[in-house]
């Protein structure tokens, strides 16, 4: 076991590089996905068929074909058509297209979930369609779409592992190298799990923060706030009689 840790220490710079590749793929992929999602998602809510229908077809196409095949296509087929991209760009591109298509559907449905009365009030005030979207509809839809986008972001993080198929040395690839050098499968993959979990956890917390800010701006009660979660845990434990410093007014409020 100590051997394992020494090899892990030796390997740390390499793992650091792997984490870096994975993070770049995740963040750049997410950014690209968000741009694609906004363009396609908004187009799908358009009243113009010439915008709506092509957007719908593109979304269905990229949702219906696998990420791996899209990646291979960018990496192996594009060069045949005379467009040569480096592996990193292919990875980011495939992730952005695939998750962008999924997110576009989230954007579309969130926008259409905003109450009809909000659209009508905006029309009654003669706001232009662009203003209406930017100032009224999107801010409300944004709060609705964050939880689903957070789920997709975590999936995107996990999806980045496929890039090791196109020679990129991401976290998964480095973990695999660690396994080969330690010869300890259990140890290496456990380290991998933990690192992925920590990254996912940080991303989830960031998204929770975004969601709380977005809903607070709507003047609603902030869901999933820290005090609320503490309260929920306490309720779940059936706890009633603790009187330590941490027992806040919020905690008292719920006792019968």
């Amino acid at each position: 076991m100590t051997d394992n840790f020494t090899s892990l220490l030796d390997f740390l710079p390499q793992i650091g590089e792997g984490i870096q590749v994975t993070l770049i793929l995740t963040l750049a992929g997410a950014l690209g996905a968000m741009i694609i999602a906004l363009v396609l998602g908004l187009s799908m809510t358009s009243t113009h068929a010439w915008l709506r229908i092509p957007a719908r077809i593109i979304v269905e196409f990229f949702r219906g074909t696998s990420l791996l095949v899209q990646l291979f296509w960018l990496f192996y087929v594009l060069p045949l058509l005379g467009v040569e991209l480096d592996p990193m760009s292919c990875g980011i591109g495939a992730l952005a297209l695939n998750y962008g298509a999924y997110s576009a559907e989230v954007v579309r449905s969130s926008i259409l979930t905003v109450a009809r009365g909000q659209w009508e009030a905006a029309i009654a005030l003669s706001l232009s369609p662009a203003r209406r979207m930017v100032r009224i509809i999107f801010p409300q839809a944004w709060a609705l779409m964050i939880p689903s986008l957070a789920t997709l972001l975590i999936q995107l993080l996990k999806g980045t592992a496929v890039v090791s198929f196109i020679t990129l040395q991401d976290l998964t690839d480095k973990i695999n190298q660690l396994r080969m050098s330690t010869n300890d499968t259990f140890f290496s993959f456990t380290v991998g799990l933990i690192i992925y979990f920590v990254i996912a956890w940080i991303l989830q917390e960031l998204m929770n923060l975004l969601e709380r800010r977005a809903t607070a701006r709507l003047g609603r009660k902030r869901p999933n706030s820290r005090t609320e979660r503490r309260l929920a845990r306490r309720l779940a434990r059936g706890e009633g009689g603790r009187h330590d410093a941490d027992d806040t007014a919020a905690g008292k409020g719920v006792r019968p």
Binding site: E120, A121, I123, L125, S126, I136, L218
Partner: protein, 283 residues
């Protein structure tokens, strides 16, 4: 109550716009504020309004009454362009709203033209429909700034005056969700007035409110009726209120004007049996 003009300062002086359009067909002396000409509205295969013709004079207060499903809301929504007109024409101040006749054919106006027309029309909804992502003040200044292109300072100042008039000056920086229904509705009224509309449409604006909150909203509307010359079209089940503020009552039935007249006549001596039954059912 302070004087009137401030409640809805008319942007360009008066409603002196020339009666340029073909719609000024009414034989009256002045151009009607609202004119319906052969209006037809269908939802799928159900015809809700057919061959509907009426005019409303500038500054007139008209109450629309009638049984549920008679088309009152549809009329207001057509004026606000929330529903598409199936056939016919609507004119605001003599100018076509959504469609016009050109070379004997009915053509749709560009959406920008229609939107320019709707800036003269304000609407208050049953469910208030305040924007939850904005404070009360932001709700009121949004359209004056972005549609009327007022400066922020001017818009804020006017908004504060309007909020003061509806009794909510101290709520300017609150979120709408922290206000009672009656307060939200008064903000919605202030928001509509901030656009200085020539026509104000009110669709059962008190029917979503708890009974004890209705009075404040009606008081605000009464003040507007007394102190401005905005043309008001109101759908209401508050017959007492309709009687007080309206100059004319139009009784609708099945998408047609069954009878109309001054409130005293309609409420006091209705000519039609159906009007009588309707009135006794709501009073």
């Amino acid at each position: 109550m302070p004087p009137t003009e401030n409640i809805a300062p008319d942007p360009d002086g008066a409603s002196s716009t020339e009666a340029s359009a073909s719609g000024a067909s009414a034989s009256g002396t002045s151009t009607p504020a609202i004119e319906f000409k052969d209006v037809e509205k269908r939802f799928g295969t159900t015809t809700v309004l057919k061959n509907l013709n009426f005019t409303i004079s500038p500054g007139e207060r008209v109450a629309l009454i009638g049984p549920s499903g008679s088309g009152k809301t549809t009329i207001l929504r057509l004026i606000m362009t929330l529903e598409e007109l199936t056939d016919g024409y609507i004119f605001i101040d003599g100018q076509p709203l959504t469609h016009t006749e050109r070379n004997g054919r009915r053509v749709e106006l560009p959406s920008k033209t229609t939107r320019a027309m709707t800036t003269r029309i304000g609407m208050v909804f049953q469910q208030f429909n305040l924007f939850p992502n904005m404070t009360v003040l932001e709700n009121v200044i949004e359209a004056p700034i972005h549609v009327l292109k007022k400066s922020k300072d001017q818009a804020v100042q006017e908004a504060r005056e309007l909020l003061d008039k509806v009794g909510l000056a101290e709520k300017a920086d609150e979120h709408p969700s922290r206000l009672s229904g009656g307060q939200q509705q008064r903000v919605a009224i202030a928001r509509a007035l901030a656009m200085s509309p020539e026509v104000l449409l009110l669709d059962e604006v008190t029917s979503a409110l708890d009974p004890e909150l209705v009075g404040d909203v009606l008081a605000v509307l009464r003040t507007i009726a007394e102190t401005t010359d905005i043309t008001m079209l109101l759908v209401t089940h508050e017959m007492q209120f309709a009687r007080e503020v309206s100059d004319r009552v139009m009784m609708f039935d099945g998408g047609q004007v069954l009878e109309e007249g001054p409130p005293n006549q309609i409420f006091g001596a209705p000519r039609h049996e159906r009007t009588r039954t309707f009135l006794s059912s709501v009073q």
